[in-house]
Amino acid sequence: MASPLSRYAFLNAKLKARISKITSDEKIDQLLRAKTLPEAVQLLKGTEFEPLEKAYVETGDLRMGEYVLYVREIELYTELQHFVEEPVLQFIRALSLRYEGDNLKKALRLWFDKTVRKRTLEGATGYIYRKTIVHGFDIDEVIAAADLPALHKALAGTPYSDLIARWGREIELQKSLFSLEIEIDKFFYKELFASLERLPKQDRQIAKTMATLEIDMQNIDWLIRFKNYYNLPLEKTLPLLIPYGNFKDLASISSSYTSGSISEILSELLKKHYSKWQTLLGKGSDSVSRLTLMERVLKQITLAQVEKLLGGYPFNIGIVLAYFFLKRNEMQTIMTILNAKYYNLPEERIKSVL
């Protein structure tokens, strides 16, 4: 197997150069201060987001710009695959399953709206990514499927058809895609963990740490939302969580979960594995602001780990994971600001959600 140096030297230089071009805080401030959407978008001229600006100028449609960005995000992974060899290659492919899953979920929601809720789709399919990411299937066929058997047929030959076969009945009974979507997410993480087992030892440790962190953050987010939005009993939440994370036993949070206090639940969850971040938890006034705070805290934890990776030994998978996280974060920030400008939200309100 190639040495870490030969495996990552070029990639490290390339990705670090790209990371150095990530949108600066100054530019984000300029975007925040822009009064209208066209004024904000023109600030992206000459930057990495110029394709978004071009798409907006041609169509006047911000969603088209968002779609262009989304395509770029997917291409970050497909492009990087040219620069790596096995076993890193299959790990990156596994990472890109995230987007395949997201794209499939979008298509399934449209299918569900059309087939189960009997709604018309009004051009909503125009922003779906149609190329193959990992597994080949026709997204239009998925959306257009008349019923569950047709849906199953549309996904034939992919791992998702098994999920449809197992969870189709649940969809019909509960009139909800909730369980299926969670299974799609679980499938992604299952594949991810399977692929990282094949990495060299140091890469495996780093990838596992990052993946576990991501899963923990996702599970925390879900747990709190299950309580806040659905008031699900604790015993029903554990099967819904993604395995492989640190939270295998939720007995310790049972009392705080019952009380419904987001800060308490979060504090209990962070106590064992992320105790130093407990100090970030303040006392928000309502559940929405606490949820916002929660998301910020979770993002901060991940960001800190990413910064650790960037500051550490450069020739390992850490640089790749850090790059993906930072780019995704950057795109989300830009799109949040632009969408807020479209809806004329004030600057302070936008800052509160960033």
Binding site: Q30, R33, A34, K35, T36, L37, P38, E39, Q42, L43, K45, Y56, V57, E58, T59, G60, D61, L62, M64, K114, T115, T120, L121, E122, G123, T125, G126, Y127, D140, A144, A146
Partner: protein, 693 residues
């Protein structure tokens, strides 16, 4: 050019009623880098009031940047006007904001229309995707329940009502394909619409006298026709979107003059307010202070006097003296435009300390010589120079900076000169060399040559001597800087001072002696002692002497209004030399000696890379020629030979050009600058009409 521009510190007091005229004059002059009076003397703090925080500066700046945004919205971007200060135009910030808001609303309206068109395009693209999925449309018409997006109907319409029906269907994403053969009173039609519009469309159809029929075999059902129809509609909508963009461009072009006037007014007012934000006030006067180039002193003084009708007090201070002793002096580098690329290289590293040597002309010479020695080929140099010239032209056209391309042009020119000296033209000896045959030496024909340079060691020797020259020049520049600063101890005893130079010179001579004696004999011992040993021992005095010099503690006179930093009291700190201090001195001396000997040796040998890269350049060309010969036929070079040579030249120009550029920069930044450059300067930033921040 050799030294940083001499500066003067201005302190001026004018009457409150002359504020506007003086501000206007200062803005017109555009040379003052303002500082706070408190930097000169703490006593000012209680004597004057700071100006009230000017929120309007920030608001003016924001509006100005917003106006600039509208300039960039235009395709191509509108030009920012040059600022003239005949009059300070009055600016109503609220009106300006209202104007920009109304312009933004108009632009938003255009973009919204584009967005609506885009929605229609997406719906038509959806129809196109669905239609594309059918084998043919007549079977699709039968399968209308399977594809739930589309409604495919076939029927007939009276000929007289067909055009009205077609017109009313334009409001919906639809495809209407009439039969080519409009015989009789009716026309057969294939109609594709979206299911969501069924109820409204059915109303239109019944109004038009639609009758559902199954179309015969020859009737329209051609998928290709439907797709063409859809594509045509999409293109029409895209064209409308482009027209929206043209409308936007015309809108902004039409408002160009107004926007330029608005921007000019905002910018001038912004600068005006920025200047006034540095004024301090008493009851009836304003005071201000700042640095400017000494050559502008008379002009500025006359300007202030004129603007205030001689109702002013002006004081000038020299840098580093009196009350201005502790005030950091900004650095202005005044080099001719031709040296601008090299000035940027220097600024990239740091700004030189005020009063010290401006490295730019030396960097220009050193950089080009280094590059030329590493990239010595007239043909390759010509290509680089042409690339540089083309780049300058394109950059000018796109209104971008051309500094990099000018540097490339200079480097190409240097390579042309050295290429002629070495007789190298695209890797061949088209003309005899004016100095020595680089190619011949690398190819192994050195023994046949006459002249002083006959083998690789001679080439290495040239670069070593070049390195010694550069390092020696660096030391000389350092001495000049130290003499200007009157830092005699450092001048004498520092590793970059006279003692360091002595050791370096002696060491270089000893090394050449050793080489000259076939690496078998060093200079005589007693000579070595006087040349190297003595200065090394003298170096040991540096620690104690610095200890004595710096072992005085300055006691501040406190926050007393009557005092200034220059009235600081100094007295010996009471630190004594003891055993530990002596050990410190000894360790410092050892480290310093190691640093001098190993550092200078390493720095000198580092210049061998100049030879290394030059040899690599030649070797690569020799290799490509050999490959070309291998591809040659009995009659000489084949097509493949020429392809190899062309690609080889391109590769060498790219690779070696980049390497030579980077290595020249490194040699300047590290080996050259480390001898004399003290990059502690702060930039000279006057408030000027020409700035674009």
């Amino acid at each position: 050019m050799i030294f940083t521009a001499p500066m003067k510190l201005l302190i001026a007091v004018v009457l409150d009623k002359d504020t506007e005229s003086v501000t206007k004059e200062l803005l017109r002059q555009s040379v003052l880098d303002f500082i706070s009076l408190k930097e000169i003397s703490r006593g000012w703090k209680t004597q004057v009031s700071s100006p009230a925080p000017l929120a309007t500066v920030a608001r003016t700046l924001e509006l100005r940047k917003r106006a600039e945004g509208f300039f960039n919205l235009a395709q191509p971007p509108l030009k920012l006007p040059n600022l003239e200060i005949a009059e300070i135009p009055p600016v109503d910030l609220m009106e300006s904001e209202k104007y920009l808001d109304s312009l933004a609303a108009e632009i938003n309206g255009i973009r919204e229309r584009q967005r609506v068109l885009q929605e229609e395009i997406i719906k038509l693209e959806e129809i196109r995707r669905q239609v594309d999925a059918f084998e043919d449309l007549k079977s699709g018409a039968a399968a209308r329940s399977t594809y739930s997006f589309l409604s495919i109907q076939t029927g007939t319409v009276p000929v007289s009502r067909f055009s009205d029906l077609e017109k009313s269907l334009e409001a919906f994403p639809s495809v209407v394909i009439p039969s080519q053969d409009k015989e009789g009173l009716k026309v057969a039609v294939l109609l594709i619409t979206m299911k969501r519009d069924d109820s409204r469309i059915n109303t239109l159809l019944s109004q038009a006298g639609w009758e559902d029929v199954s179309l015969p075999v020859e009737s329209p059902g051609n998928k290709g026709e439907a797709l063409r129809e859809i594509t045509g509609k999409i293109e029409k909508l895209r064209k409308q979107q482009q027209e929206c963009n043209q409308e936007l461009a015309e809108l902004l072009k039409g408002r160009e003059t107004r926007l330029q006037n608005l921007w000019s007014g905002l910018r001038i007012n912004e600068l005006f307010l920025k200047i006034q934000s540095h004024f301090s006030r008493t009851e009836r006067t304003i005071l201000f202070s700042g640095w400017l180039p000494a050559e502008k002193q008379a002009e500025v003084e006359e300007g202030i006097k004129r603007a205030s009708e001689n109702r002013c007090y002006i004081e000038w201070m020299a840098p580093k003296k009196g009350e201005a002793a502790e005030v950091p002096v900004p650095v202005a580098m005044r080099n001719p435009k031709v040296l601008e690329p090299f000035e940027k290289l220097v600024r990239n590293y740091a700004l030189p300390e005020y009063g010290s040597i401006d490295p730019t002309p030396f960097v220009a010479a050193a950089y080009l010589v280094m590059f030329g020695l590493m990239f010595g080929d007239a043909g390759h140099g010509l290509v680089l120079a042409l690339v540089g010239l083309a780049g300058q032209y394109l950059a000018k056209k796109r209104r971008k900076s051309n500094t990099l391309f000018r540097l490339i042009t200079y480097c190409g020119s240097a390579a042309i000169v050295t290429g002629i000296l070495f007789g190298s033209y695209f890797g061949t000896a088209l003309f005899p060399p004016l100095w020595f045959n680089y190619h011949g030496i690398i190819a192994g024909h050195g023994a046949e040559m006459t002249g002083l340079v006959r083998d690789i060691y001679d080439i290495l020797g040239i670069t070593i001597r070049f390195g010694i020259t550069i390092i020696g020049l660096g030391l000389l520049l350092n001495w000049v800087n130290l003499i200007k600063k009157r830092d005699w101890l450092t001048l004498l005893l520092d590793k970059g001072g006279l003692l360091g130079g002595w050791i370096y010179g002696a060491g270089t001579w000893a090394a050449f002696y050793f080489v000259g004696h076939n690496y078998k004999e060093l200079p005589p011992g007693n000579l070595l002692f006087w040349l190297l040993g003595l200065p090394t021992l003298v170096l040991a005095l540096k620690g104690p002497l610095e200890f004595l010099r710096h072992n005085r503690v300055h006691i501040s006179a406190g926050e007393d209004a009557s005092s200034s930093p220059s009235q600081a009291v100094s007295k010996p700190s009471g630190k004594r030399i003891n055993g530990f201090t002596i050990i410190d001195f000894f360790m410092e001396w050892i480290v310093e000696v190691l640093e001098i000997y190993s550092g200078y040796l390493a720095n000198t040998l580092s210049f061998m890379r100049v030879a290394g890269l030059g040899i690599a350049h030649v070797s690569l060309m020799i290799a490509f020629f050999q490959i070309a010969e291998m591809m040659a036929g009995p009659k000489g070079y084949s097509l493949w030979s020429y392809i190899i040579l062309i690609l080889g030249n391109i590769l060498v120009i790219g690779l070696e050009g980049l390497s030579a550029g980077i290595q020249s920069l490194r040699l300047n930044y590290y080996e050259f600058f480390s001898k004399y450059f003290n990059g502690t300067g702060r930039a000279y930033r006057p408030i000027t009409l020409r700035s674009r921040d």
